[in-house]
């Protein structure tokens, strides 16, 4: 097969690439926009903060366990209940950015199965599972 024919064969992969790239792009964009908006609201004090910014210099030099104890901050998914506060609202955008590979991975599973490519369908499903497991917090913290 010459290189150009092979380049045409690579067109078969275009669906998976297009789907993955598009979903990744929109997820990333939503994450960045949300992050910028929430951080602006946080630093300008438009949203009340759980830990006021002026208190942070006393706390950010501490190990995380001590920081949580002294600031009474929640760990795990506890921040979600405080997402209306300026500092924790940023974690919504961060969580979106960290999760934005998940939809493209899940979208590829049926596509690979349709192409009878079971190995890659399993790899995508496993990668999605690893991300979900990490996100769930069940691995302990």
């Amino acid at each position: 097969m010459d290189v150009k024919t092979e380049a045409s064969a690579a067109d078969l992969e275009r669906d998976e690439v297009r789907i993955y790239a598009n979903l990744l792009y929109y997820g990333m964009l939503a994450g960045f926009v949300l992050l910028l908006a929430s951080f602006t609201a946080y630093v300008f004090g438009w949203l009340p903060a759980f830990v006021p910014p002026q208190e942070l210099p006393k706390l950010w030099g501490l190990p995380v366990a001590q920081y949580l104890q002294q600031s009474h901050s929640p760990s795990g998914w506890g921040w979600l209940a405080q997402a209306w506060r300026g500092d924790f609202s940023n974690l919504v955008g961060i969580a979106l950015l960290v999760s934005c590979s998940l939809p493209p991975l899940l979208a590829l599973v049926p596509l690979f199965l349709k192409q009878r490519d079971r190995a890659y369908a399993i790899i995508c499903a496993l990668e999605a599972l690893v991300l979900l497991l990490a996100a769930s917090g069940v691995l302990g913290h």
């Binding site: 290189v3 092979e6 690579a10 690439v17 910028l36 995380v64």
Partner: protein, 315 residues
């Protein structure tokens, strides 16, 4: 190199050090709280902006520079710096990912099996990193940064490595491709070998990435290029895709542990992305080899600083 480029280059290093120096000087000042709180996120933004500018021409991920520099010269605990470092590496990889995929420079079939193992081990690295004492982590960080410096000095790169035939695993997974090389104006076919060895190496790379919160471009690209035989451009593009998955899983562990402090993470991510965009434009203006040498010196300095901080010789 023309005089204007030399002037820019001469400005870059002092600027980067200037961004770090006040932070270090202010470490003592922090004890007496003379600086307003907003100084630190602002200094972080400027530092990350400058790191972003030099990281692209130097061919190194911003996260690799971020953790030793911010961990060594800013007053934040290393737990928060590592959490932010992973996000910086992730955001940089995500920002470039879709474009690299569409252009064929990042390959999904090459990335996915390697990213799966790197993702699993990066969570293990994150768990280990948050369990170890900070001083030990500082020393280990310094050692790994100096090892990266050594790797940058000795690693060779090949534009189009010769791969006689793919290994059985690569053949079974269909890891091969064709990409359009803009420099030569031609289509180039590629295939890979030594996939089992690369899978093992990516387990180690993921572990180190999660442990220290540093991106892994410094290790991904040599393994993809020199071990597996992927063309340099495909290796660099695919490295980002792998990083977008492996950093994400480790980041979740840091988020769930409370080690992601928005006041540290967000200015870093924004500064790095803006700087990297300028760095990408400067690729054509600056001489990469000079920037690379400058970054090696900076990394060596930051690595030594981490060891001295960890041993208590230079607080």
């Amino acid at each position: 190199m023309n005089p204007s480029t030399q002037r820019r280059l001469a400005l870059a290093l002092p600027l980067l050090l200037l961004a770090a120096a006040p932070a270090h000087a202010a470490e003592a000042a922090q004890a007496v709280s003379t600086l307003p709180w907003w100084f630190w996120p602002l200094a972080l933004f400027v530092t990350c902006f400058l790191i972003g500018i030099v990281a692209v021409p130097a061919g190194i991920g911003g996260g690799t520079l971020f953790v030793p520099i911010v961990g060594g010269f800013f007053p934040f605990h290393l737990d928060f710096v590592r959490g932010a470092g992973l996000l910086v590496a992730l955001a940089s990889a995500l920002a470039a990912g879709p474009m690299l995929l569409r252009s064929g420079l990042a390959n999904l079939r090459l990335a996915l099996p390697l990213a799966l193992l790197a993702s699993i081990s990066s969570i293990a690295g994150a768990m280990l990193g948050l369990a170890l004492p900070a001083d030990a982590m500082q020393i280990a960080l310094g050692v790994i940064v100096l090892a990266i410096v050594a790797l940058m000095l000795v690693t060779k790169k090949a534009e189009h490595p010769e791969v006689a035939r793919p290994d059985p695993l690569a053949a079974a997974l269909g890891i091969h491709g064709v990409f359009f090389d803009g420099a030569s104006g031609q289509f180039a076919r590629w295939q890979v070998h030594r996939t089992p060895l690369a899978l093992f190496l990516f387990l180690l790379i993921g572990l180190i990435g999660g442990l220290f919160g540093i991106g892994a471009g410094w290790a991904n690209v040599p393994v993809l290029n020199m071990v597996m035989g992927a063309p340099l451009k495909v290796a660099a593009g695919t490295s980002g895709l792998i990083l977008s998955l492996s950093s994400a899983s480790a980041s979740w562990y840091y988020i769930n542990s409370g080690a992601t402090l928005p006041m540290i993470a967000v200015p870093s991510v924004i500064g790095m992305i803006l700087g990297a965009r300028i760095g990408a434009h400067l690729l054509h203006v600056l001489k990469s080899s000079h920037i690379r040498k400058m970054v090696i010196v900076l990394l060596a300095f930051a690595g030594l600083r981490a060891i001295l901080k960890g041993t208590g010789l230079w607080m």
